[in-house]
Symmetry: C2
């Protein structure tokens, strides 16, 4: 069986098998399931880092420098760059931006770009599968990098062990705009482009925001970096490693990973149940019939919903 | 019954009842259901306009000027301003921006701002309910205005009859970034701030993009406006009215509204089914048990999903 051959090769660190398997999970939902079922028992070793923040924050450069720093420390790195807005798959970000040449040719680094197109089972599911494949491939660290801070990107980045929120000076009102529900997920705040005017002010704003929030056992550190000049990258990596130490010693790692697994299972249940429910709803054109009734104002949407649900047994 | 009293008043054009009912649909999912069941038969009269596009495009000003122009033509207007990122409800956008004073005091205009906080059943559902209430209140036109072009905002704006995509000169690469899956939904393109350098180029870029897309029966018009100076607003409104004429004469209106209704019903079914499935999954801590097994790598997430689904009857 083809999948098993690829998985065997993946376990032996075969780079082409890794690339091939990621392409499969992007494009074939059924095969993705078979692959994950096969490799899942080998996962859970990598430290997964999510890098997010508003567009224009230099996340891509920061990711590259972090990867470089990890390589300097003898670690292997997988990078999954997420671009839900991109019309292209498997090349958009790599094609659009200049990744450091020495990274692209380094066998200890595996970079993959993922867009929505081609991700049949959804970008989030494909990304989670890609992370698992990179984990089994042997990456010590896996960096998930997003383009923006949309809901789908936040959902993806939340699956990481450590979330780095990248801010830049001069965002002004935009900081306000992304505050709600987004800033809270940062385990570490990186103020990039800290050689620009206003870096201290941005750091102070982030600090003030953290002061306003609920008291936590661990206060997210704020690190000032200039990724383009490779300043502060090493300190940022130290904080990322510190965070993993904290996660382990506090028992948070187990809890966080279990929460993520639960969310993942619920999402899988939702997809599967809705697939079945929609199939059932098509029986005798039930869904079309209630839609027409609602369109004619003979029925309201809630009653339509109830009438469809009644089609199933009381066992749901 | 309180709801019925409010609904009676709403049907008589009572402004306070309208405001009160919108607050209820934001905060109480069960009551929202009762309200919509009660008023649904009176809906479907208003022309719903969705205004979207990247941040900084001046959508708020354009919305105000369009409302003003509609008032000049003797029409009543409801405005629902959506801000999913805002930590506040019912005041964030109104508080942050300056709405034209004469609009705020005009009894023929009803403005409502909605954020995620407080929308228990989700922002999308609350917005759709608010639009229905404004429809019954008697608004001839309802404008849904979003802050950005995130997925949740796109989903909301898609429920409109006419979608106006607002672009501005100088967005550069950002146009590229929002192209996929977003530009296609525009029925009309408004190039705002057309007194700025590059307006013609932006119009040309939009035109080029439309040329590349699939041929449609109707080609979305491109209108250059300067909302702040009230230039082109009247032409834009003419195009919006033309679009409704097209929708009616081509039969597209019926089709589009039915598609939206179907999506709405499916979403309601999903919410309801998942509520029941999750309740069922908690029986004997089944979900917690499989989560623990997956966390220990004794089971993979897909098998966990299957084992939970097996708990239900074959009738799903």
């Amino acid at each position: 069986m083809l999948i098993l051959e690829y998985v065997d090769k993946l376990l032996n660190g075969d780079r082409r098998a890794c690339a091939r398997l990621i392409s499969i999970v992007e494009n074939d939902e059924e095969e993705a399931k078979n692959i994950i079922k096969e490799i899942y028992k080998y996962t859970g070793k990598a430290h997964v880092i999510g890098i997010t923040g508003p567009p224009g924050g230099g996340k891509s450069t920061l990711t590259d420098k972090l990867a470089k720093e990890l390589r300097n420390r003898g670690k292997t790195v997988g990078i999954v760059a997420i671009d839900p807005t991109s019309p292209f798959t498997g090349g958009s970000i790599l094609g659009d931006r200049i990744r450091m040449q020495d990274l692209a040719t380094d066998p200890g680094v595996f970079i993959r770009s993922m867009g929505t197109r081609g991700c049949l089972g959804g970008l989030s599911k494909a990304t989670q599968s890609a992370v698992k494949i990179l984990d089994v491939y042997g990456a010590d660290y896996i960096i998930i990098e997003t383009v923006g801070v949309g809901q789908s990107e936040i959902d993806i980045v939340k699956t990481a062990d450590t979330i780095v929120m990248v801010m830049v000076p001069g965002l002004g009102d935009d900081i306000q705009a992304i505050k709600a529900g987004v800033m809270e997920i940062g385990d570490i705040f990186a103020i990039n482009k800290s050689d620009l005017d206003g870096a201290n002010r941005t750091a102070a704003e982030v600090k003030a925001m953290l002061d306003m929030g609920p008291r936590k056992d661990r206060r997210p550190p704020i690190v000032q970096v200039v990724a383009s000049l490779n300043k502060g990258t090493s300190e940022l990596l130290d904080e990322i490693i510190n965070h993993m130490e904290y996660l382990k010693s506090s028992g948070e790692l187990k809890k966080r990973r279990e929460d993520n697994i639960k969310t993942e299972i619920i999402k899988l249940i939702e997809t599967e149940v809705m697939k079945r429910v929609l199939e059932k709803s098509q029986t005798n054109h039930a869904l079309e019939k209630v839609t027409a009734s609602v369109a004619n104002r003979k029925m309201d949407p809630f009653s339509a919903c109830e009438s469809i649900i009644k089609l199933f047994s009381d066992n749901i």
